[in-house]
């Protein structure tokens, strides 16, 4: 009978869920925009073959960053950035706007590293003959990247980028551990006060994630279909 009592009472906490949903979406969208920028910059640095000393140093730095993020759990990254670094550097996240900006920083750094690998793989997947053909026509490295390599790389990257969006949206639920009022945190709070319908409540929570992630997965399929050139 729990389900029936849940359905009877669901409208009571819908507004709280919607408010939390908004925070989840805002966190995901802002972080993923920053992460995409970080990913493109780091990915371009990593694929440059320049022997310049500054570029070499930057490449090492970028590799260290990617390895640290990929080699540690996101929960540990949250603990380090939310609790560890402020204590060490002597500031408080509260003074910088609280949990939301902290969450944006964590999610940006985390998704940015994976995005950088997606960008690198996308660029490296472009046939080297494409670069040679472009350079042999007299086009510079920059023009070749812009007109030949990146448009082709983007097409192979898009499904992976959308996949990373899906992963990062699900990762926002980890921010409940630092108390950000996003979806998972709100569901846990409601459950603490109204524990008779735990299964129904958490399934209701899961539906929010399902809706966003499944729509993105559909978008990915659509993009993949649209990707082939002149093969319709």
């Amino acid at each position: 009978m729990n389900i029936i009592s849940f359905l009877g009472n669901v409208q009571k906490f819908v507004p709280r869920f919607l408010a939390a949903f908004r925070i989840t979406i805002e966190l995901a969208v802002i972080s993923l925009i920053f992460a995409t920028i970080v990913g493109i910059i780091v990915g371009l640095i990593n694929t440059s073959k320049s022997k310049n000393i500054i570029m070499r140093f930057l490449r090492i730095l970028c590799n260290v960053y990617i390895n640290i993020i990929r080699g540690t759990p996101m929960l540990v990254q949250i603990l380090i950035i939310y609790y560890g670094i402020p204590q060490f550097l002597g500031f408080r996240w509260v003074d910088l706007g609280g949990m939301f900006p902290a969450s944006v920083v964590v999610l940006t750094l985390n998704a940015g590293a994976y995005m950088a690998e997606i960008v690198r793989a996308g660029i490296e997947a472009v046939d080297p003959g494409q670069i040679e053909a472009s350079r042999s026509l007299g086009l510079s490295y920059g023009k070749t990247m812009r007109r030949i390599v990146l448009p082709q790389a983007l097409r192979t990257m898009l499904p992976s980028i959308i996949n990373q969006f899906i992963i990062s949206i699900k990762d926002t639920s980890l921010m409940s551990t630092i108390g950000l009022a996003e979806l998972t945190n709100v569901a846990k709070t409601i459950n603490a006060n109204w524990s008779s319908a735990t299964l129904a409540l958490y399934c209701y929570l899961a539906c929010y994630y399902l809706i966003i992630c499944l729509s993105l997965a559909q978008l990915s399929k659509f993009v993949e279909r649209k990707m082939s050139y002149g093969r319709d």
Partner: protein, 250 residues
Amino acid sequence: MVEINKNAEEKIVVKNLKKNFGKAEVLKDISTTVHKGEVLCIIGPSGSGKSTFLRCINRLEDITAGQMIVDGVDITDTKININKIRENIGMVFQHFNLFPHMTVLENITLAPVELKKMTKDEAKVRAHELLERVGLKEFADRYPSQLSGGQKQRVAIARALAMNPDIMLFDEPTSALDPEMVGEVLNVMKDLAQQGMTMVVVTHEMGFAREVGTRLIFMDGGYIVEEGDPREVINNPKEPRTINFLNQVL
């Protein structure tokens, strides 16, 4: 920077060219001169360095030692703007390397427009002329994936010609083609030769070398082993290595 001399009688002068890949010496000591209007064919077994030599002419491969003088400019000099030199040297690849995300027309107009040699409209007119010349005037709006191998290679030739180069390099242009498509590509190259284009062609097509080539180089092990009139070299090779190679391919 030394002025590019498009009217140089000696289009390409190679002096003691060496090229290493790491510890492997691919080109050991290459010297030759290509004159205006010459069609130089290069043959040799795989691994002989013939493609590497061709790629040194527009510095797609960095040159380890020696000189490579193209239109009066030593391109081993790192201070020159290599892109300016490359505008003057068209290149055609074994695997076509057409840009798959662009139509045939966009493939051809890209470089002249991007490098501000022509306006968009001028480049389009020129592209249609070139497509007609290679027998593909109906194909301007197709994508490369919709063309056969022979058609792709003819588009690639048109794309290289769009910059009005006065040297054309061909890197085994018919090796990736089905046999029935080889002829259409060779015919386009033959036309080009007859119009006086300076050409360097790495090829396995002995018929083409004999008929169109003005000079033949046989390379092996990073050296020029034998060189001369194509009919003479193919019919009466002097060096044992040349004789051996020709026995295998003819």
